[in-house]
């Protein structure tokens, strides 16, 4: 029996509620809380459960606890929770009233996906100007911990930011509860709704998990999509919430910056073994179906058959459902077509590739933003890209040829002109100077922060 642990927890709750406890016994503490707090404000139930359990309670538990408190009184409702807390071990959760940023995936993963780059750059930029408490959900227990000292924390009355996507069920359940009951200003960066809108290109399991993530976002204050096209997806989704009777978050687009790393000293051609005279067509991105690399290969095949000389360089990891891509790739290789593929290369080499490539081909079927396209244009290399959504928004008038990515003939013609028509190529290169200059990650992070600052949390009158 650990009465001290329970008393510490109750003291933490009282402290967060702005009370000072006079009584010395646990029942005395409970009576004081019962007198001071109104069960109709469910954030108190959230606070009590979260601290006593050392983990974020699911919304259903919060509601059930609040109703029990209301009908039976706090001592009855809280009794089983106190028993469990008394049996528990380890430190009591700390109530935190600060800017919490959930970097669970980014801190765990050695890879850099587009999402993780955005999360890392944003958090790094924020740390320059404000105090940030990075938090992670424990994969095993679902506890929320501060990244700095690994201690369990409970967000209450501060700010909670989700700069990644959260698809694990335990995690999204917890975040939904935080958004609903913790009195925090909540903001999420919105990348895209692809698993809902383009499920035919997604790996197994994703659309199911994504539905949880969306249910979580439904209770957020603000979502900042990374482009106007992603914004359109989130605005459409927000409208779908009418049936649940939720207004949904404010959707406020903040475009990602166009940046590219410094020119490396690496001789990319030598590293990849590409002849000096061969123009390079570059494709950056995994070979998942959505990236449309099958049609890209088919278009390239037409060009090679027409006798146009170039090397296709594809940089990107493996993905799901690549059977067609793999078989077409090996057929073209057997036919002696110059294709270089790399699954993992240093950023240096990618930056270098953008600079030596004749043209970047980025003809995805749906993108939230399209970092490789933005990076290529920022490096002054023209692109062939899709004629809709974020890709059209990024590429139009800025050095990209826009094509219908579902049409191999259109794709073929655009690539052919980009590779062979020097006058056109020069015009496109000139257009790339239209890429917004001086808008970097710190500006992006500052704009997102402005949206968070604008959130005012209304008092919880949930009954």
């Amino acid at each position: 029996m650990s009465g001290a642990r329970v008393r510490a927890a109750l003291a933490g709750i009282a402290d967060a509620a702005g009370l000072s406890l006079a009584e010395r016994s646990v029942p005395g503490h409970v009576a004081e809380l019962s007198d001071a707090l109104d069960p109709r404000d469910r954030s108190w139930s959230y606070l009590i459960l979260a601290v006593l359990r050392t983990r974020i309670p699911p919304a259903d538990d919060v509601v059930a606890f609040a109703r029990r408190w209301q009908s039976e009184g706090l001592p009855v409702a809280i009794a089983p929770e106190l028993r469990r807390a008394g049996r528990g071990r380890g430190p009591v959760a700390r109530v935190v009233n600060a800017t919490l940023v959930d970097v669970t995936d980014t801190s765990r993963s050695p890879y850099t996906t587009g999402i993780q780059r955005v999360a890392r750059e944003t958090v790094a930029a924020w740390k320059q100007s404000i105090e940030v408490c990075e938090v992670c959900f424990d994969p095993d227990t679902g506890r929320l911990r501060a990244r700095s000292d690994n201690s369990p924390v409970v967000p209450f009355g501060g700010r909670f930011v989700l700069p990644e996507i959260a698809v694990e069920r335990a995690r999204s359940t917890a975040i939904a509860s935080i958004a609903r009951f913790s009195r925090s200003a909540t903001l999420a960066i919105g990348f895209d709704c692809i698993p809902m809108t383009t499920a035919e290109t997604c790996g197994p399991g994703m659309p199911g998990a994504f539905a949880h993530y969306l249910s979580t976002l439904a209770r957020f204050d603000v979502v900042t999509p990374i482009s106007a096209a992603a914004g359109d997806e989130f605005r459409g989704w927000r409208r779908m919430l009418v049936g649940v009777g939720l207004e949904g978050p404010r959707i406020d687009d903040v475009d990602l910056p166009f940046t590219v790393g410094d020119a490396s000293t690496v001789d990319v051609r030598q590293v990849l073994g590409i002849d000096e005279s061969d123009p390079i067509v570059l494709a950056v991105g995994s070979h998942e179906p959505r990236k449309n690399h099958v049609r890209l290969l088919e278009a390239c095949e037409v060009l090679w058959r027409r006798g146009i000389r170039f090397t296709l360089v594809m940089v990107g990891g493996n993905a799901w459902n690549t059977r067609r891509f793999d078989s077409l790739l090996s057929r073209l290789r057997r036919a002696g077509r110059p294709i270089v593929t790399r699954s993992a290369v240093d950023d240096d080499v990618v930056w270098g590739l953008y600079r030596v490539a004749r043209v970047t081909a980025f003809v995805s079927l749906n993108e939230g933003f399209g970092l490789p396209l933005a990076e290529s244009l920022a490096a002054g290399t023209p692109a062939v890209t899709s004629s809709f959504g974020s890709m059209a928004a990024i590429g139009a008038e800025r050095g990209a040829l826009l094509v219908d990515p579902r049409s191999v003939p259109d794709l073929t013609d655009a690539l052919a002109s980009a590779v062979t028509d020097d006058a056109l190529h020069a015009r496109l290169v000139a257009q790339t100077s239209g890429v917004p200059q001086g808008y970097g990650w710190s500006d992006y992070a500052a704009r997102v922060l402005e949206r968070l600052d604008a959130v005012t949390v209304e008092a919880q009158g949930d009954v």
């Binding site: 109709r40 259903d60 509601v63 059930a64 109703r67 209301q70 009908s71 069920r169 999204s172 359940t173 939904a176 895209d192 709704c193 698993p195 809902m196 809108t197 383009t198 499920a199 035919e200 997604c202 197994p204 399991g205 659309p207 199911g208 998990a209 994504f210 539905a211 949880h212 993530y213 969306l214 249910s215 096209a229 992603a230 359109d232 997806e233 989130f234 605005r235 459409g236 989704w237 927000r238 409208r239 779908m240 919430l241 009418v242 049936g243 649940v244 009777g245 088919e298 067609r324 079927l365 749906n366 899709s386 004629s387 809709f388 959504g389 974020s390 219908d404 191999v408 949930d462 009954v463």
Partner: protein, 544 residues
């Protein structure tokens, strides 16, 4: 004990046994669940296929020839030579190549293979044809791709049945299942009224989901004339489909169900490429927007269903709220350069499913009814909590939860009701209730409560209203929409006190109750006949 007496009293009001007596169908279910039945299923299917095939017709090339002869008149103008199978294929391919038309290519591919392609398979054939030097090479390419599809679909021996200029309705679920939820009620009530219409054709999918197939007589019966308690029929599911593939052509294909994963990819390609007009009934988008309410697998398969909707021509939503949900989805797909379907609203009708079996006995204690399957989204626990507030105040009433059992893991309602029963409260759960019993419950109830957290329509609300019983329902979405026309009290479904207040008023204030009953009498009436007629107009039935 008090609780037993209460249970008996409730059972008496509804004149039903709490335990449903074993019927012959249960034995059939038992038989079907034995391992020997399942292990021998393939054998029975082979036997069935063999008996369906005509003698002497058992050859792959013979079947291919019959399919090509069946499709050629739809694709070749005028006469065509029938000397050899390959020459027919060459002529048909040449005609399709000249027309440069996706729909014709889809028909040629489907007919040649005896199965329907998915979007990838279709795109692969279209691209391969670009490299064909002449008609003979093009015909070889078509054959190559068709054979690959045949191998995957086991369709080598199938005949095809091309349904031209008809209304082809995909009733895969209703044809093979007895269960009735809201969706199946819409399908069965509609098709029961359409069954003698000219130009109606009902189809399901083969067991692997590669081709549409005709319905057996049993399945037609189950779709158009089924009611709960109907004798279950042991059917040869999929056996008939192993001999005939149905291909809709220049028809309207109606999707009145939420298409299953099994055939979603084929249906998506049909919606996008076949040239058929495809119309879907839109119920709700709960699995996409409310992930916490459903199993992840359901969200997963619903996402595949949404990919079909990107290619359909029209979504007929069952309420304005449902229409808004689908419109939101269509807005979201604009970012990928997809125009999406037209969305219209055809609200479901207000009609009780059946007449009460017996006139309701006069109730000594008022009955509060909550109809709906027992799952988290239906928000039933809040009703039990609100009722407890009123019981503590000394009000007397019986609370009855009637509806299908939900997922096994959801026990919150059972737990809460058990707790209340042990405390001596007059509350019970009844599962597996028939339409007649349900009608009787509606008629006997003083008030019905539907405070679901999300509904595409809310059939129990209108069913109760059409039985003359006022409803306490949600202030949100489709339920608020139904409430507009009167007879309802709307509340915040998440507020236990607001619900308790509304219940108290309707249990104690007879004038208020009479006022609501008066409003119900003034509600505009629509029936399943109206709904079926209007939907038939939407799908263009009866038009040449």
């Amino acid at each position: 004990m008090v609780t037993v007496l209460d249970d008996l009293r409730i059972a008496g009001i509804l004149s039903i046994e709490p335990e449903i007596p074993a019927e012959p169908r249960d034995e059939i279910e038992r038989l079907k669940s034995t391992s020997s039945w399942r292990l021998t299923a393939p054998l029975r299917r082979v036997r069935m296929v063999r008996s369906e095939l005509r003698p002497g017709a058992v050859s792959r090339s013979g079947a291919l020839r019959r399919r090509l002869l069946a499709v050629a008149p739809h694709l070749v103008d005028g006469e065509f030579a029938t000397s050899s199978t390959l020459s027919i294929l060459r002529q048909v391919t040449a005609a399709v190549a000249r027309a440069q038309d996706d729909a014709r290519l889809w028909l040629l591919f489907s007919a040649t293979a005896g199965a329907l392609p998915d979007a990838d398979e279709f795109a692969a054939l279209r691209r391969a044809l670009v490299w064909a030097r002449d008609d003979a090479a093009a015909a070889r390419t078509v054959l190559q791709h068709a054979v690959a599809l045949m191998d995957r679909s086991h369709s080598h021996y199938r005949d095809i049945d091309i349904r031209e200029r008809e209304v082809v309705v995909d009733v895969d679920y209703c044809a093979t299942h007895g269960f009735t939820s809201g969706v199946q009620r819409v399908v069965r009530e509609t098709l029961r009224r359409w069954r003698s219409h000219e130009g109606l054709y009902l189809a399901a999918w083969d067991s692997e989901g590669r081709a549409m197939r005709p319905l057996t007589d049993d399945e037609i019966e189950r779709t158009t004339a089924w009611h709960r308690g109907h004798r279950r029929i042991i059917d040869m599911q999929g056996a008939h489909g192993a001999t005939v593939s149905v291909i809709p052509w220049r028809s309207t294909v109606l999707l009145p169900e939420v298409a299953a994963d099994r055939f979603a990819p084929r249906l998506a390609a049909l919606a996008s490429h076949s040239g058929n007009r495809v119309v879907a009934i839109g119920y709700d988008t709960i699995p996409a927007t409310d992930g916490f309410f459903v199993a992840p697998e359901q969200s997963q398969s619903f996402a595949r269903y949404l990919t079909i909707l990107k290619g359909v021509d029209q979504i007929v939503a069952i309420s304005r709220a449902a229409a808004a949900e689908f419109a939101g989805f269509i807005e979201a797909v604009a970012a990928q350069g997809v125009a999406g379907p037209q969305i219209t609203v055809l609200a479901l009708p207000e009609e009780v499913p059946a007449e009460p079996a017996d006139p309701a006995p006069p109730a000594e204690i008022p009955l509060v009814l909550a109809v709906g399957s027992h799952e988290i989204r239906k928000n039933h626990v809040v009703i039990a909590d609100a009722a407890e507030i009123l019981w503590r105040e000394g009000l007397k009433f019986i609370l009855l939860f009637a509806g299908g059992s939900g997922p096994e893991w959801y026990t919150d309602l059972d737990d809460r009701v058990t707790e209340l029963v042990l405390a001596g409260r007059t509350v019970a759960i009844v599962e597996g209730i028939s339409d007649e019993e349900l009608a009787q419950a509606y008629a006997a109830a003083r008030v019905q409560i539907v405070v679901s957290l999300h509904e595409g329509f809310g059939l129990p609300v209108v069913e109760s209203l059409s039985a003359g019983t006022p409803v306490i329902t949600s202030e949100r979405g489709s339920m608020a929409e139904i409430a507009e026309a009167g007879g309802c009290v709307v509340v915040d479904p998440e507020s236990v006190t607001a619900l308790a207040d509304a219940m108290r008023r309707l249990l104690t204030d007879d004038e208020e109750l009479e006022r609501l009953r008066g409003e119900i009498a003034d509600r505009p009436r629509t029936t399943w006949n109206d709904y079926a007629d209007r939907l038939w107009q939407v799908v263009g039935g009866g038009r040449p």
